[in-house]
Amino acid sequence: MDNKDYVYLSHINKSFNDFKASCDVTFGAAKGALTALLGPSGSGKTTLLRMIGGLNHPDSGEIIIDGRVINALPASKRGIGFVFQNYALFRYMTVEQNIGFGLEVQKKSKEEIKKSVKELLSIVSLEGLEKRYPHQLSGGQRQRVAFARAIANNPDVLLLDEPFAAIDAKVRRELRSWLRDIVKQVGITSIFVTHDQEEAMEVADRIVIINEGKIEQVGTPEEIKEHPATDFVKDFIYLT
C-alpha cells in the first residue's frame, strides 16, 4: 500500500445478480490529488465510485480511507462529498438551503451556515444567487451549486460522477480547468468518473483505466500515453 494514498481500494469484487461489475479491483488515490476513473460505458467505474461513497457495497475487498477500513460505515457517516451526474439538487430548496443542507444536519447555527454559504458561493463564483431555486439556474450554475454543496461539510474526499456529462461542449472546457483549479485551491482528495479520455488527460493527476470491471492500467497521463499497458488502453486512448 502506497503511503501517500489517502483512498485505497483493495481487491474489490462486486456483482449485481449475474453481472460482474467489479473484478478484483485494486488502486489508490493520492491525498490532495485528482484521480480519474476512466473507461467506456458499462465498465463499472461509477460502481466503484459509489462503493467509495457508501451507496453500494462490495461483495468482498476493502475500502480504506486514511488508513481505516470503512466498509461497515454507512454513507451518511463517511464524510465524503458526492457530486452526482445530474446534480440531484433539492428542487424545493433554494441555493442557500441546498448548500447549507449538510451544515444544518450538523446542527450548525444559522449565522454560521449563512457565512459558510456565502464563502462557498464566492469560491464557485455564484455570489448573490442564495435565494434562487434550481429551476432558475443554468446547467453550469447547477453544477457549481452541487459542487459547493458537496464541499460545504469540509469532507475528506470528494467524489464526482461524470461531472461534465450534462454540460454543452463549449462550457465543458472552461469548467474542466475550473474544477482542477478549485480542487487544488481547496486541497481536497478528489476522484472523478469519466468516459472522456481527453478530459481525464487534461484534469487528472492519476488515471485509473477500467474496462469490464477490471483495471487495465494505473498511472499519470504521461505514463499512460507513452507506455500503454494493454491493447485496450492503446485503442481507448488513441481511437477515442
Binding site: 457495497h57 457517516k77 433539492f90 428542487r91 424545493y92 444536519v105 429551476h135
Partner: protein, 585 residues
C-alpha cells in the same frame, strides 16, 4: 420527403387540428354526449335555483341551523378522514413501493376495494361492525366510547371510501422517484428519517395534495357508506347529502337545490384551490423531471440482510390499517350473511325481489358500460390526437360527474325529467316515464360513471403521443383503420381496466339511484337499494346475503383488475426495455 414536410407546414399554418382524419365526427359526438348527459342535467340545477326567487330567500334557506350543522358535520368529518387517509396513504404507498414482504401483492390488490364495493354494502357492514353489538364497536362500548351514530363513525366510513385516493396518487410518484435525491442527502450526512421529511416529502407533496383533495371532496359528497352509520341525529350527525335527500323526500325541491348548490360551490372551490397549488408547485420541477430515467432502488446500508426495525414497524402499521379498514368489513358481510344458515342464505338470494333487483342493476350497468366506453374512447382520442382550443375545458367538464355527490347527481335528473322538471311534461306526453322508473335509474347510473373509462384511457393515449397515427394518416390511411391498427393496441389494457371500473361503480351506485328510483320493490329497485330496504326492515341477514352477491362481484372485479394491471405493467416494462436496448446500440 420535402413534399411531406411541405404538406405538414401547410396544415400547421392553417391552424387545422391535426393530420389524422375524423376530427369533425369525434368532436361532434363528444360534444353531443357531453351536453346531453352532463351539461343539460346540470343546467337544470341552475334553472331551478333561479326560480328560488330572491337572494335573501336563498340565503335564509341555506343558513338555517340544520343546514349549517350539516355542512359543519360533512366538512369536519371529511377533513379529519382525509388527513388520516393522507398519513396512512403515504405510509401504505411507501411500504408497497420500497419494501418487499410476502403479502405485498395481496395488499396492493385490495386497495381499490372501496371503489369496487357498493357504498350501501360498505355502509351496512361498517354500521354492523361499529355499533355497540358489533365486533369492534362492542370493544369500545366497554370502555364507554360509542362509534356508530356519532361523528367518529362518520369519520371511519369516510376514511373507508377515501383509502384508494392518496395511496394511488402517491404510489406512482414514489415509484418514479429519483433515488439520487436520497443518496445526495445521505452523502451529506442526513439520517433516513430526516431525508424522508426534508427531501422526499416535498417531492411527494403535489401528489399527496391531489390525493388529499380527492379524498376530501369524495367525503363531502359521500352518501351510501355514511348514511347508515351516521344515524342522522339532527344537528349532530346529519351529513349534507342526507339533508338534500330529506328535502327531496318531502318534495321540497327548491330547498334541496339550494343545499346542493352550496355543496357544489364548496367542492369546486376546494378543487380549484388544490389545482392552483399544484400548478404553482410545478414550477420547481421544470427542466429536471426524472433525471436519470431509470428508477433504481437504494441498496440497504446493513449488508447483513436484516430488516431495520423502522421497516418492520411501517409494514405492520400499513398492514394492520388495511386489515381493519378493508378486510374486517368483508368478513362482517360473509359472517352475517350466513348467520341464519345456508338455507336462509339461498332463500334470500333467490327471492323474487332480489332477482328482479339484480336484473335492474345489470340493465343499468350494461347501459352505463356501453355508453361510457364508447364515449370514453371517442373523447380520449379527440383530446389526445388533435389540437384545438378548448381541450382543457372539455376535459374538466367530462370530469364533473366524478366530483359531484351522487345525491346531487340524482337531484339534477329529477329537476330535468321529473314532473317539476322542464323536460318532464314532454316525456309525460310521449308516455315515457323516466323519474321513478327504470330509464331514470339508467340515466343516473350513466351520469355517475360517465368519466370512468375516459379517465383510464386518456393518460395512456396522452403519453403515447400522436406520431404513429400522423404517420399513418400521411400515408393515406382512413380514420377507423388508424384507430383499429395503431391507437387501439396501445390502449387495450387501459380500455379493459376502464370498463371493469365503470362496471363496478355502476353496479354499486346507490346515492343517485336512491333519489331517482322511487324505491318501488319489484319495479324500480336496484340491488343496492334492495339491500337498504332489507336492512332498514331489520332483515339483517337477508340484507347481508344480498350484499354478498355484490361483494362477490366486487372481488371478481378486483381480481380482474389486478390481472390487467399486471399486464399493463409488463407491457410498459417491455417497451422500456426495448427502448433502452435500442439506445445502447
Amino acid at each position: 420527403m420535402s413534399d411531406v414536410r411541405q404538406e405538414l407546414k401547410k396544415i400547421i399554418k392553417n391552424d387545422s387540428p391535426g393530420v389524422i382524419p375524423g376530427f369533425g365526427l369525434l368532436l361532434g359526438i363528444t360534444l353531443t354526449m357531453l351536453t346531453l348527459i352532463v351539461l343539460i342535467p346540470l343546467a337544470s340545477l341552475v334553472i331551478e335555483t333561479a326560480q328560488i326567487g330572491s337572494l335573501s330567500d336563498f340565503i335564509s334557506i341555506v343558513t338555517d341551523k340544520y343546514m349549517m350543522a350539516g355542512y359543519g358535520v360533512s366538512l369536519f368529518c371529511s377533513f379529519i378522514a382525509a388527513v388520516v387517509n393522507t398519513v396512512a396513504g403515504v405510509i401504505i404507498a411507501w411500504v408497497l413501493v420500497r419494501y418487499d414482504f410476502k403479502w405485498k401483492s395481496f395488499l396492493n390488490g385490495i386497495i381499490e376495494l372501496p371503489f369496487a364495493i357498493p357504498t350501501a354494502v360498505a355502509g351496512i357492514a361498517l354500521t354492523s361492525l361499529y355499533c355497540d353489538t358489533g365486533w369492534i364497536g362492542s370493544l369500545f362500548t366497554k370502555i364507554g366510547i360509542d362509534i356508530a351514530y356519532t361523528k367518529t363513525g362518520i369519520i371511519i366510513a369516510m376514511i373507508f371510501v377515501g383509502i384508494p385516493f392518496v395511496v394511488r396518487s402517491v404510489q406512482p410518484v414514489i415509484e418514479k422517484f429519483d433515488v439520487e435525491y436520497e443518496e445526495a442527502a445521505l452523502s451529506l450526512g442526513a439520517s433516513p428519517a430526516s431525508t424522508f421529511f426534508k427531501v422526499i416529502l416535498p417531492e411527494l407533496f403535489p401528489s399527496i395534495l391531489a390525493g388529499f383533495g380527492l379524498a376530501f371532496a369524495r367525503g363531502i359528497g359521500e352518501y351510501g357508506s355514511v348514511v347508515f352509520i351516521a344515524g342522522n341525529i339532527p344537528l349532530k350527525t346529519q351529513i349534507a347529502p342526507l339533508l338534500i335527500m330529506a328535502q327531496l323526500q318531502q318534495y321540497n325541491y327548491a330547498k334541496a337545490t339550494a343545499i346542493a348548490l352550496v355543496l357544489l360551490v364548496i367542492s369546486f372551490a376546494l378543487m380549484l384551490a388544490i389545482n392552483g397549488l399544484q400548478l404553482y408547485m410545478q414550477r420547481f420541477t421544470a427542466g429536471s423531471d426524472n433525471m436519470s430515467g431509470i428508477s433504481k432502488k437504494i441498496e440497504p446500508f446493513d449488508d447483513t440482510g436484516k430488516r431495520p426495525a423502522r421497516e418492520h414497524t411501517l409494514i405492520a402499521v400499513a398492514s394492520l390499517f388495511l386489515f381493519v379498514m378493508l378486510i374486517i368489513p368483508l368478513l362482517v358481510v360473509a359472517t352475517y350473511a350466513l348467520r341464519d344458515g345456508a338455507a336462509a342464505y339461498a332463500e334470500a338470494i333467490f327471492d323474487e325481489y332480489t332477482l328482479h333487483a339484480l336484473k335492474i342493476t345489470l340493465i343499468a350497468t350494461v347501459f352505463a358500460v356501453v355508453i361510457n366506453t364508447v364515449f370514453g374512447v371517442i373523447a380520449a382520442v379527440l383530446l389526445t390526437k388533435y389540437t384545438f382550443p378548448g381541450r382543457g375545458i372539455i376535459a374538466t367538464l367530462i370530469d364533473l360527474p366524478f366530483s359531484i355527490s351522487p345525491v346531487i347527481a340524482g337531484l339534477i335528473f329529477i329537476l330535468t325529467f321529473g314532473t317539476i322538471g322542464w323536460a318532464g311534461p314532454f316525456f309525460e306526453r310521449i308516455g315515457i316515464k323516466i323519474v321513478f322508473a327504470v330509464p331514470g335509474i339508467v340515466l343516473a347510473t350513466v351520469f355517475v360513471t360517465f368519466p370512468f373509462v375516459f379517465r383510464e384511457i386518456f393518460p395512456v393515449l396522452n403519453a403515447q403521443g400522436r406520431h404513429e397515427e400522423e404517420a399513418a394518416a400521411l400515408m393515406g390511411a382512413g380514420g377507423f383503420t388508424i384507430f383499429r391498427k395503431i391507437t387501439f393496441p396501445h390502449m387495450k389494457w387501459a380500455f379493459a381496466y376502464g370498463i371493469v371500473l365503470c362496471a363496478a361503480r355502476a353496479m354499486g351506485e346507490f346515492g343517485a339511484v336512491s333519489v331517482i328510483s322511487g324505491h318501488l320493490r319489484g319495479k324500480t329497485n336496484t340491488l343496492p337499494l334492495h339491500v337498504e330496504i332489507l336492512y332498514n326492515e331489520f332483515n339483517t341477514s337477508e340484507a347481508f346475503a344480498v350484499s354478498s352477491i355484490l361483494v362477490i362481484m366486487a372481488l371478481i372485479i378486483l381480481i380482474v383488475r389486478n390481472v390487467l394491471e399486471y399486464r399493463i405493467k409488463a407491457n410498459e416494462q417491455m417497451i422500456e426495455e426495448e427502448r433502452l436496448a435500442a439506445d445502447k446500440e
